[in-house]
Amino acid sequence: MSEKEVIIRIEDQNLDPNFLRSLMDVEGCGSIVSFVGLTRGEDNGITVKRLEFDAWENKLNHVLSDIAKTSIEKFGVKSVLVAHRVGAVEPSEPIVCIHVGSKHRKAGFEACSWLINQLKLQAPLWKKEVRSDGEIWKPGLG
């Protein structure tokens, strides 16, 4: 697996999905499936000012890399990029970006969906919602 087939980015500043996509090896691909998760500015009618992400940064890169490599083996896709923010993420800003390059779209969609589910299950990240009525740590899968 080449360096350009699995790319992991942990960013403390803005994620740029288009720039990240340009880093990928898509030679021979007929499809790029992307998922970009954003901070929602409200939760059940309560204003969300921002999300704050804590991470076990020494482990996070390793976990995301393992997930990405597994997705390539499991779905036969060509290349995978996974990027995640840490620190404060304002409403409408990207939190997470996943790109999957593949020959055909079906494998790309399946891999992309699997990747975000696995990230939510495994990645050592913790999300705090800073709201107009206080602060809460979001429990589990959100």
Binding site: H62, A123, W126, W137
Partner: protein, 88 residues
């Protein structure tokens, strides 16, 4: 001789806390001296984290996530306490 045994019987470990647990304890990491043979469960008791285990707290020993809580820690071990994750 007894004094020497006491020195030989001590190990140093590092505890890591994340997310809501770091906020609750107001600590990100702690260096701790322990006796040989101390288990992760004994550290959990000392820091009163037992109730958090049933709420999904997972422990990593030297990067190995989900380790058996009866495992004895070793000198220079890094023990990470991980509340349920919520990335994405």
């Amino acid at each position: 001789m007894r004094k020497q045994e006491s020195i030989d019987g001590a190990i140093k470990v590092k505890l890591l806390f994340f997310g809501p647990l770091a906020e609750k304890l107001n600590q990100r990491s702690i260096e701790l001296s322990l006796l040989y043979g101390t288990t992760i469960n004994q550290i959990i008791d000392r820091f009163e984290l037992k109730s958090m285990i049933s709420d999904g707290l997972v422990v990593a020993l030297d990067g190995d996530i989900g380790v058996d809580l009866d495992t004895e820690v070793k000198d220079s071990s890094e023990i990470a306490f991980l509340p349920p994750v919520s990335g994405g």
